[in-house]
Amino acid sequence: MPDGANSVLYVEGLKTVFKVRGGEVHAVNSVSFDLKPGELLGVVGESGSGKSVTMMSLLGLLPSPPAEVREGRVIFDGRDLLQCSPAELRAVRGLGVGFIFQDPMTSLNPVFTVGFQIMEPLRRHLGMNKEAARKRAQELLELVNIPDAAQRLGDYPHQFSGGMRQRVMIAIALACDPKVLIADEPTTALDVTIQAQILELIRELRQKLGMAIVWITHDLGVIAGIADRVIVMYGGQIVEQAPVGELFARPRHPYTRALLQTVPSVLGERAPKLKVIEGQPPMLTATPTACPFRPRCAQAFDRCARENPARRAVGRGHDVACFWDFDSNGPVAAAESAANA
């Protein structure tokens, strides 16, 4: 459960709805979290769990209509981003918050040189002249370990490989020294050996620059390697939040537990059969009034169908939105969870 004090980004009760033909899709439901300076927060979930939409809502990156951010507060730099004018938001994007998108193939503009695209935020946000921007752009390419940086500035995106393009994306996101970097599945489109290179680069950059990072992924392995703290999302809600070691050692939500069991590994024992989570992720056409994981949950009981569980603390920095208590292996007492909520 987040508290507003000394965090760089503080999100409370965020709710995003898409208007579609024949109704609404409630993609994000009352999501609250915070981000401490210098930490790497991992956000895990399947496709459609609302992890990307949450982050895009923060910066007003979703087209409206169909998207509508209905409720919530996003405090960054002492301001509520949801109340900001488009001009103010534009200053926050790039300058205060950098964004790396999933697909390096489509997120760079093919008709401009890479140098131009790195220099764009520098000239726009920091008011640098061409020469200074060029120098800084070269530094940035060197920072993300692209050889022959000076020459490569004049190249177009198609002259770079996938891993190199993702490095360029990272250079652009870092151009104005943002306090927060949001990375939306930055390695999903890359091969494992290239992914390892990018993860190494991020570790190195964190040491050098010390910005806070939100890392969205569906790969639990990546999370285990780089995150400090993890949020697990399901059906547009945060179902569990914990420090990374705690989450993998002592998962408290049935979904997290099941997810950890379905993933095979290259080390250790090989299970004769994979555990599966039966069923499909939910389609959220209205504000949930019951637990969204209920139809696929082995622990579900009658209360799960009546109310949507609120997040309750189960340890230091560890909270879970579930009525089931794995310590006593029984339902949580109604009074206790109400008091915590």
Binding site: E46, S47, S161, G163, M164, D191, V192, T193, I194, Q195, A196, Q197, L199, E200, H218, D219, L220, G221, V222, I223, A224, G225, V244, G245, F248, A258, L259, L260, T262, V263, P264, S265, V266, L267, R270, A271, K273, L274, K275, V276, I277, E278, Q280, P281
Partner: protein
């Protein structure tokens, strides 16, 4: 290739398979080069086993899988399935072979015709290759839908009404329609969510047990291949660099590329992750149109020697049933004995330099 378990029957035998795509240029589309997508690949698949084929994108694993069913015309080499060399069959004879070999495609969205119902999709192979009447066909379609865990009520729906995992089930049912012996699964789970991947993999395993199928399972997901495959082949730039049983390959990878590939897979365990020694490869995969001289991996290999830049290593059996194409394991043979001292002695300085550079 030698058979490591003589009791097992070989179903698929590939020998020196090459598949080049021509590069053309100019007004008259004259040929200026080749993309060597698959460049001299040999392996065999035993009846009832699953061979995993892993590698990074662009290494030729999908092309290899498609060539095996002759969805491409091969440039050279032979592919024997059940004793018949399908690389040289005529179109007619090949068509009669089709029922024994089928394919499950990567993208369940793109591989199902959006204007056909599920029953139409699953029944199409039956239309083409059998003389079943309408009622028999419908009975078979229902049977297949039951086998892959789709409700019979869905038979008249269209693919758009299904989720990714269910669509992949439709694709699997279609592949099973003609009782094939051999199925090429080309990244069947890559487009699916983690929790759905496990469902599809379990289904494939169940069907294998029940129907005695033989799979070639192509994937870039090394942890899933470890789960499903009996033996694993690792491809790099059109060639198989290592082929071994699952335990041997994951337990002690021999080829430097396999070692790097396995060490790059993130583990869902923070403690392991913190203490793991990672081999980070520098650079990217070279273009298959212009592969480096000598060993294909020499531009990225952390253990590169001088000989690697000159002589192409051949795949040899270093342990029973274990094939590695690397100069590191050639010292025991006569061919390697003459070449190795030269490389390690006189040029050790330059070798050292390269390795440090690559490590940075």
């Amino acid at each position: 290739m030698l058979d490591h378990k003589p009791t097992q029957k070989t179903l698929v035998e590939v020998d020196g398979l090459k598949l080049y795509f021509p590069i053309t240029a100019g007004l008259f589309r004259s040929k200026v080069g080749d993309v060597k997508a698959v460049d001299g690949v040999s392996f065999s698949i035993f009846e009832g086993e699953t061979l995993g084929l892993v590698g990074e994108s662009g290494c030729g694993k999908s092309t290899c899988g498609r060539a095996l069913l002759r969805l491409y015309d091969v440039t050279a080499g032979s592919i024997r399935i059940g004793g018949v060399d399908i690389a040289k069959l005529s179109a007619d004879a090949l068509r009669r072979m089709r029922p024994t070999m089928q394919m499950v495609f990567q993208d369940p969205q793109a591989s199902l015709n959006p204007r056909m119902t599920v029953a139409g999709i699953i029944g199409e192979p039956l239309d083409e290759h059998t003389t079943l009447n309408r009622a028999e066909k419908l009975a078979r379609i229902y049977e297949l839908m039951d086998a892959v865990g789709l409700s019979r009520d869905f038979a008249n729906r269209y693919p758009h009404a299904f989720s990714g995992g269910q669509r992949q089930r439709i694709g699997i049912a279609r592949a099973l329609a003609l009782n094939p012996k051999f199925i090429v699964c080309d990244e069947p789970i890559a487009a699916l969510d983690v929790s759905i991947q496990a469902q599809v993999v379990n289904l494939l395993e169940e069907l294998q047990d029940r129907l005695g199928l033989t799979y070639l399972f192509i994937s870039h997901d090394l942890s899933m291949v470890r789960h499903i495959a009996d033996r694993v082949a690792v491809m790099y730039l059109g060639q198989i660099v290592e082929l071994a049983s699952r335990e041997a390959l994951y337990g002690s990878p021999k080829h430097p590329y396999t070692q790097a590939l396995l060490s790059a897979v993130p583990e869902p365990n923070p403690e392991h992750e913190a203490n793991r020694r990672r081999i980070i490869l520098t650079g990217d995969v070279p273009s298959p149109a212009n592969p480096p001289e000598g060993c294909n991996f020499c531009t990225r290999c952390p253990k590169v020697m001088d000989i690697c830049r000159k002589v192409e290593p051949v795949s040899r059996e270093i342990e029973p049933g274990r094939f590695v194409a690397c100069h590191l394991y050639e010292t025991t043979t006569t061919a390697g004995a003459t070449a190795a001292p030269e490389a390690s002695g006189a040029n050790s300085l330059s070798t050292n330099n390269t390795t440090t550079q690559q490590g940075v």
